[in-house]
């Protein structure tokens, strides 16, 4: 008698999902699936709208990572107005957008680590749920909880200064930005009263890394072994191979570190990336075309980025990157829980990048927009907090959008998340007939490492529930749990 386990909802995952775990007659896990109801409403919604509305319109598809969508769409529209390419924007526009983006990375990574991931690390995934949440963190470690709030706030102040609002701003426009920083805004962010200044953010990012590394030392077996499996990795990198979250070329490496996508121009993404549709899931499965769906799937996000990049262009994060690379002897890192480590290194890099940008005179410049020959089609790609985000638009001669295709980070990670769930299910659920609390949590911890933005992947608003079901060979649900 085969059996199936379904887990839903996954708490502390932004959005909605459902996990089904299939057991065979022997009670072994044969297959696990993460179902996400993908709703491509926004791609239809922007059709027929003037192209300059896209950056403000598409960011509404997610209340969690709007800045990434805002910037990816703006980058696509840069191409449309003839300002695409590496030299396209004015130095001020490019740097203001970078500042906005690093502000978003900083606040999103901070939120993930302190609010979503640190409860697992502080208390363990088998701790009672009442403790394993952000309130638990606050009760156990007031300093850490307060830091988290202030780090997020700082990131949001940067977004407000560059986009006009903390959420759903208008800063990036086709061909540039609509504002730079005033001297007062710059000084406030750079040297604001303790603790809301760039220097303190660097120090706190280092503190968070130290916290993680200390935890890692004490829990090496769990961090290294939990939900580990080899994969390909994909991200943007700067042309010289540096980690760059705002702009670059597409690079992918395999589990051994061999280049399988060699720094290609993302305007041609469609020649390299395909999306497979599977009958049981509404969310598509992207893969590298030349390797096919079975071998061409890949991970995106912090772990993937540190696997594709050759170095990090800020000194403190670079030093941490070297330690990180030593852990795997320079080979790509396939340990799922190391994603948290990678995310914190990026948080430090973001803080350093913010600091450098605030010291750059261009950030208060007044040359904001450039335009060139109008193009019919444009692709914008950015490394969002959760990974590579692709926006592709076609615009008619009448300025109305004719076609939109968006591939969000969580969709790229669809296959890896399914594998992660399957691996955890095999370890924790073989021979089980009911879903216990720690089992449920283990599945969640595995999914959460990818920080999936399901509201984004499903292009739907709001937080949706998720359930886990355990199903036997005959298709009977043995147990079903929701949270």
């Amino acid at each position: 008698m085969t059996q199936k386990i379904i887990i839903e909802p996954v708490t502390r995952v932004e959005g909605h999902g459902k996990v089904t775990i299939q057991l065979n007659d022997q009670g072994e896990v044969t297959q696990s699936r993460l179902h996400i109801v993908e709703f491509r409403g926004f791609e239809r919604f922007v059709q027929g709208r003037p192209y300059w509305e896209a950056p403000v319109l598409v960011q509404r598809l997610c209340g969690i990572c709007p800045v990434s969508h805002h910037l990816a769409a703006a980058k696509a529209m840069d191409v449309i107005v003839g300002a695409g390419g590496d030299q396209g924007l004015t130095p001020t526009a490019e740097k203001v957008r970078r500042l906005m983006h690093y502000g978003q990375i900083f606040q999103s990574h901070t939120l993930h680590f302190f609010h979503l991931a640190s409860p697992d690390l502080l208390f363990g995934y088998d701790a009672p749920p009442a403790q394993r949440n952000v309130v638990g963190v606050a009760l156990a470690n007031r300093g850490l909880a307060l830091q988290a709030v202030l780090m997020r706030k700082y990131g949001q102040e940067i977004i407000a200064a560059t986009a006009g609002k903390k959420i759903h701003g208008t800063g990036a426009i086709p061909g540039g930005v609509n504002k730079s920083l005033t001297l007062a805004e710059r000084d406030q962010l750079l040297n604001g009263p303790h603790p809301l200044n760039a220097g303190q953010m660097i120090a706190w990012a280092q503190g968070a890394l130290a916290f993680f590394k200390d935890y890692y030392k004490k829990n090496k077996a769990f961090i290294d072994g939990f939900s580990r499996f080899p994969s390909n990795h994909l991200s943007l990198v700067r042309r010289d191979g540096a980690l760059d979250l705002y702009h670059g070329v597409l690079r992918a490496v395999d589990a051994e570190g061999r280049r399988i996508l060699d720094d290609v121009d993302y305007q041609d993404y469609i020649a390299h990336i395909r999306e497979e549709v599977r009958s049981w899931s509404y969310m598509k499965f992207p893969y590298l075309l030349h390797l096919g769906p079975d071998n061409g799937w890949y991970r995106v996000g912090p772990l993937a980025r540190l696997n594709t990049a050759d170095f990090i262009p800020t000194p403190l994060a670079q030093a941490e990157f070297e330690t990180f690379k030593q852990a795997t002897g320079g080979k790509p890192n396939d340990m799922c829980m190391h994603t948290h480590w990678a995310r914190l290194i990026e948080t430090l890099h973001a803080a350093e990048a913010i600091h450098d940008l605030l010291l750059d005179a261009d950030i208060t410049g007044s040359d904001l927009v450039v335009k060139g020959a109008r193009q019919a089609e444009g692709v914008g790609v950015i490394e969002a907090p959760r990974g590579t985000l692709i926006h592709h638009f076609r615009v008619g001669a009448n300025d109305l959008i004719e076609m939109a295709n968006l591939i969000v980070s969580t969709t790229h990670n669809n296959e890896p998340m399914n594998r992660a769930v399957n691996q955890v299910a095999k370890t924790y659920m073989t021979g089980q007939k009911i879903i216990t609390e720690p089992m449920m949590n283990a599945v969640e911890v595995a999914i959460r490492a990818y920080d999936p933005c399901l509201s984004c992947a499903t292009h739907a608003y709001g937080r949706m529930p998720l359930e886990i079901a355990l199903v036997d060979a005959a298709g009977c649900v043995l147990d079903r749990k929701r949270k």
């Binding site: 027929g48 709208r49 003037p50 300059w52 509305e53 950056p55 403000v56 319109l57 509404r60 107005v81 986009a163 006009g164 609002k165 759903h168 701003g169 208008t170 800063g171 426009i173 086709p174 609509n178 504002k179 927009v369 335009k371 008619g396 009448n398 300025d399 109305l400």
Partner: protein, 231 residues
């Protein structure tokens, strides 16, 4: 020489030029009367009714009323305010107003009035009309979703030869305001900008121009509509 007359606004006596439009006379006295279809410098139309006030106790539109000696006006009563709120709600419900992605957001008179009257969810059912975007003109784009049929553009925008750029077609609830396809082929950037500015909402847009005024510097970001005046 202009003659001055005495008139009363909410119980207080003011002086105004004889025959001045009431909305403007009130504004000059520091009293706010909301308007939508009215636009300084073009003939009043009295179409939207949001400027309705009580004149000697009877409702009348302030934009079409001229000040005369002894005019007794009540600009604001709870009933008038709720009537104005209802007008704003109806206008939202009968078009497709998606403020977040609208270029005029922050500078839109309808949106500003909605904030003033604290419109959150309209009490009227949304009609979700099927309307299109007229995008074939070289310099202008007409988004019928957002048009509130105030006809300010029809009354106010003419090319140098005196030919109107906008005209209305159909009648009743089907009325549409169109851009003249011939005249629109050849207009200056300045006239295009004038057309965009005269529209109280985001129904007339200049092509390629979007969101270049940052949040914080748009018309109603600093001073909400009517906030500089008493009401």
């Amino acid at each position: 020489m202009a003659t001055f007359v005495k008139f009363t606004l909410d119980g207080k006596i003011y002086l105004s030029e004889d025959g001045a439009p009431l909305v403007e006379a009130a504004r000059a006295c520091g009293v706010f009367i909301p308007t939508l279809c009215n636009y300084t410098g073009i003939p009043p139309k009295g179409a939207c009714r949001i400027c309705t006030v009580l004149i000697n106790g009877l409702p009348a539109t302030a934009c079409t009323t001229k000040v005369v000696e002894g005019l007794n006006v009540q600009t604001s009563t709870p009933e008038l305010e709720s009537f104005r709120q209802a007008i704003v709600e109806i206008l939202f419900a009968e078009g497709n107003h998606l403020c977040p992605s609208c270029e005029k957001s922050g500078s839109c008179e309808l949106q500003a009035l909605a904030y003033r009257y604290r419109v959150t969810v309209p009490h009227f059912p949304y009609l979700f009309p099927r309307r299109d975007v007229e995008a074939w003109h070289p310099k202008l784009l007409k988004d019928h979703n957002r048009c509130i049929q105030c006809k300010r553009c029809i009354r106010g925008i003419r090319n140098p030869a005196g030919k109107a750029l906008f005209a209305f077609g159909k009648r009743g609830d089907r009325v549409v305001i169109n851009i003249d396809p011939v005249t629109s082929q050849n207009i200056s950037d300045a006239l295009a900008q004038q057309a965009m500015d005269i529209c109280p909402v985001g129904a007339i847009l200049r092509k390629g121009k979007g969101f270049d005024v940052p949040i914080g510097r748009r018309t109603y970001d600093r001073t909400p509509i009517g906030a500089e005046l008493r009401s």
